[in-house]
C-alpha cells in the first residue's frame, strides 16, 4: 500500500535530514577547529619569525658595533704611530736648540737656582763645556759627569739621596704629551 511507502520515504527523509544536519554541524565544528589551529600556528610562527628578526637585528647591530670599535681602535693606533714618528723627528732635531743662547740661559737659570757645592751634575757630552763654564761663573764646586740624554741637566745631592731632573728628555715628553691634541689636529685635521 502507498501509505507504507510514504511512511518509509518520510522516515528516510527525516533520517537523511538528521544526518545532513549532523554532518553540517560536524563540518562547522571541524572548520572552527582547523581555523583555530591555523591561527594558533600562524601566531606561533609569526612570533618565532619576529623573535628571529629581532635576534638577527641584534646580532647584526652587535657585529656592526664590534667592527666600529675595532675600526676606531685601528685608526687610533695608526694616528698614534704617526704622532710618535713626529716625536722621534723632534728628538732628532733637538740639536738645533742646544746651540742657542736661550738654551744656555736656561741652563744657567737652573744651575744658579738649584746647584750647590759638592753636588753631582749630569749632562750630555756636548754640554760639558757649557755647564763647566756656567759653574765657574757661579763659583760652584760640583762634579760633572756625562750621561746619555738629549740635553739639560740632572743634579744629584749625594747627602740627601736626591736627584732633581731638569733634562730635556723629561721636558720634551711632558710638553709633547700636552701638545699631542694640537699635533693630531695638524696631522689629521679637525674631528
Amino acid at each position: 500500500m502507498a501509505t507504507m511507502e510514504e511512511l518509509l520515504d518520510e522516515v528516510i527523509k527525516k533520517a537523511l535530514d538528521e544526518i545532513k544536519r549532523n554532518a553540517d554541524q560536524s563540518f562547522e565544528e571541524a572548520k572552527r577547529i582547523v581555523d583555530k589551529t591555523y591561527n594558533d600556528v600562524l601566531q606561533s610562527y609569526s612570533n618565532k619569525v619576529r623573535d628571529l628578526i629581532t635576534k638577527t637585528k641584534e646580532e647584526i647591530e652587535g657585529e656592526r658595533a664590534k667592527l666600529d670599535v675595532e675600526n676606531k681602535r685601528l685608526v687610533a693606533s695608526e694616528k698614534n704611530y704617526w704622532i710618535e714618528k713626529v716625536y722621534e723627528g723632534v728628538k732628532d732635531k733637538i740639536d738645533v736648540l742646544l746651540g742657542s743662547e736661550n738654551y744656555k740661559k736656561g741652563l744657567e737659570g737652573v744651575l744658579s737656582r738649584e746647584a750647590k757645592n759638592d753636588v753631582i751634575i749630569y749632562c750630555n757630552s756636548k754640554d760639558v763645556d757649557t755647564v763647566s763654564s756656567i759653574l765657574n761663573k757661579l763659583k760652584i764646586k760640583a762634579k760633572l759627569k756625562e750621561e746619555k740624554m738629549l740635553g739639560g741637566v740632572k743634579i744629584e745631592f749625594p747627602d740627601q739621596g736626591l736627584v732633581k731632573d731638569f733634562s730635556l728628555d723629561l721636558l720634551l715628553s711632558q710638553v709633547f704629551e700636552a701638545e699631542k691634541p694640537k699635533v693630531a689636529k695638524i696631522l689629521f685635521g679637525e674631528e
Binding site: E58, G161, P181
Partner: protein, 466 residues
C-alpha cells in the same frame, strides 16, 4: 699659566711594609702626589703619597712591593697629582683607573688631563632632576623610575644577578627623544676576570659597546687601584656630561669591593677603625663619590649614577648599604626569595624606592596614568603578600573570593610584570600596559587608587572601546 715641572728622585727607601714604602729625607712631597718606582731591572711601578711626616714620605705602591729592594730601587716624585687624560675617544674602549688602555689599543690622543678627585658641584647651580630615563626594565620604569641626574643604587646579594642587571641597564638605558646623545661610563671595581670577560662580551654582542666606556680594575689588583676606579670613571662622566653635553649614566660595580679596599688601606695605615672595621670617614668618602652626579644649570648634559653593591649576608643594616642609603636618592633591592622562584630580575618593589621618581612621570613625561597605576600596583601587591601570609596560616580554601584574586594577582605580578628576559627591552608604554593586564585580574571595585577616567581608558576591559 703653565705648571712648573718638579720631578725629584730619591734613593733613600728606609722601609717597606706590605704595599707601603717609607722614603727618608723627603720634605716637599704633596699628599696624593704621584710617584714612579724604578727597580734595578728597569721595571717601573707607580704609587701615590699617602702620608708625609718628619721628613719622611709614605708611598702606597699600586702594583705591590714584591721585588722592590730598599738599597737599589729609586723613587721619582712626579710633581703632580693623580691626573688622567680624559676624552670622548674613551667611548667603546676599556681603560685602567690610571688611564692605561686594557684593550690592546693605543693611549688616548686628544683630550684633557683632569684630577680624578674632581670637585663637588656648586649647590647653587644644581638643577632638580625631572626627566625620565627608560631602563627597559618594568620593575624600575614602572615602580621605581630613574630620573636624569638622580643617584639610585642597586642593593644586590651574593649570588644574585646584579651583574646581569647592570649590564642590561647599561645596554638598554636611554633618555626618550635623545637616544643619540646617551653614553654609559661603566666603572668595574675589583671584579673577577670572568666577570670582566662577561661584561666585555655582553656589550660587544649586544651592540652597546659603542656608547660604553669601561674603567676597570680586577680583584687581584692592589686596593689603591680599586679606590681610584670610581674616581676615574666619574671624572670621565663629568667630562662627557658637562663639556660634551651628553647624558651620562655612570654604573659603578661593585661598591662593596671599593669599601673593602678602603678598609684594607685604612688598616695598613693603622687608623682607628669605625663600625664593622671600616674607617670612620667612610661616609664622607662615599659621599665624595655619590655626590658627583646631577644636573647643572646652563649645561645640557647630566650624570645619573647607579652604584651597585653586594649586601654582605643580605643585611641592609650592614655599614655599606646603610651609609649608601643616607646619601643616595632611593634604592633598588634584589630579593633572594624571588630569585629562588626563578624570577629575573628579582627586584623586590616593596623594599625598593625612588625618592625622586614621582617628579619624572605622568603626562608629558611617560603617560598620564603612570602615577595612579604605580600606586595601585604597589598597594595591591602589598596586599597580595599579606594574603600569602594569611593563606599560610588559615589555608587557601578559607580565603574570601577577593583574597583568592589577590593571590592570583600576586603571582601574575611577579611572573608577568616583574619577570622579563635579559635581552627584553620594554618601552614604558608596554610596561604600563602589562601593569593594567595584571591589575585586570582584580575586580574593578578594588582599583581605588586609580581615577575612573583612566580605568575607562586603559583597563583591558575597555581598551580600544569608545
Amino acid at each position: 699659566m703653565e705648571k712648573t715641572i718638579n720631578v725629584r728622585e730619591y734613593s733613600n727607601i728606609s722601609s717597606i711594609r706590605g704595599t707601603l714604602m717609607v722614603i727618608q729625607g723627603v720634605t716637599d712631597a704633596a699628599y696624593n702626589e704621584l710617584v714612579q718606582i724604578e727597580l734595578p731591572n728597569g721595571e717601573k711601578r707607580r704609587g701615590i703619597v699617602v702620608d708625609s711626616y718628619l721628613g719622611n714620605a709614605v708611598v702606597q705602591v699600586f702594583e705591590g712591593t714584591t721585588g722592590i729592594s730598599p738599597s737599589s730601587s729609586t723613587v721619582k716624585f712626579l710633581g703632580r697629582g693623580l691626573e688622567v687624560k680624559i676624552s670622548d675617544e674613551m667611548l667603546g674602549r676599556i681603560f685602567s683607573p690610571l688611564g692605561d688602555p686594557l684593550d690592546a689599543g693605543p693611549p688616548v690622543i686628544s683630550g684633557e688631563k683632569r684630577d680624578i678627585n674632581g670637585s663637588a658641584i656648586n649647590p647653587a647651580v644644581r638643577e632638580y632632576p625631572e626627566e625620565f630615563i627608560q631602563t627597559g626594565i618594568s620593575a624600575i620604569d614602572g615602580m621605581n623610575p630613574l630620573l636624569r641626574g638622580q643617584k639610585l643604587p642597586i642593593y644586590s646579594g651574593s649570588g644574585l644577578p646584579g651583574n646581569i642587571l647592570a649590564a642590561q641597564i647599561a645596554k638598554q638605558a636611554t633618555v626618550l627623544g635623545e637616544e643619540s646623545n646617551f653614553a654609559v661610563v661603566f666603572g668595574a671595581i675589583g671584579i673577577r676576570y670572568d666577570e670582566a670577560l662577561f661584561f666585555r662580551k655582553f656589550f660587544e654582542e649586544t651592540g652597546a659597546i659603542n656608547r660604553v666606556a669601561m674603567i676597570m680594575s680586577l680583584a687581584n689588583e692592589p686596593p689603591m687601584t680599586k679606590i681610584l676606579t670610581p674616581r676615574t670613571a666619574l671624572t670621565l662622566a663629568e667630562y662627557l656630561a658637562f663639556e660634551k653635553e651628553m647624558h651620562v649614566l655612570a654604573i659603578l660595580i661593585d661598591m662593596t669591593n671599593y669599601c673593602e679596599a678602603l678598609r684594607e688601606i685604612s688598616a695598613s695605615k693603622e687608623e682607628i677603625p669605625g663600625r664593622g672595621g671600616y674607617p670612620g670617614y667612610m661616609y664622607t668618602d662615599l659621599a665624595t663619590i655619590y655626590e658627583r652626579a646631577g644636573k647643572v644649570k646652563g649645561k645640557k648634559g647630566s650624570i645619573t649614577q647607579m652604584p651597585i653593591l653586594t649586601m654582605p649576608n643580605d643585611d641592609m643594616t650592614h655599614p655599606i648599604p646603610d651609609l649608601t642609603g643616607y646619601i643616595t636618592e632611593g634604592q633598588i633591592v634584589l630579593d633572594r626569595a624571588l630569585y629562588n622562584k626563578g624570577i629575573y630580575p628579582p627586584i623586590n618593589v616593596l623594599m625598593s624606592l625612588s625618592r625622586l621618581g614621582k617628579d619624572g612621570i605622568g603626562e608629558g613625561k611617560t603617560r598620564e596614568d603612570h602615577k595612579d597605576l604605580q600606586n595601585q600596583l604597589f598597594a595591591s601587591y602589598a596586599r597580595a603578600i599579606d594574603t600569602r601570609g594569611l593563606a599560610a596560616i588559615i589555608g587557601e580554601d578559607s580565603l574570601s573570593e577577593v583574597d583568592k584574586k589577590y593571590l592570583l594577582f600576586g603571582e601574575a605580578f611577579e611572573r608577568k610584570f616583574i619577570m622579563q628576559g635579559v635581552n627584553e627591552n620594554r618601552s614604558v608604554e608596554t610596561t604600563l600596559d602589562i601593569g593594567w593586564d595584571v591589575l585586570s585580574i582584580l575586580p574593578e571595585s578594588e582599583l581605588t587608587n586609580i581615577k575612573t577616567s583612566y580605568i575607562k581608558k586603559y583597563h583591558p576591559a575597555y581598551r580600544g572601546k569608545k
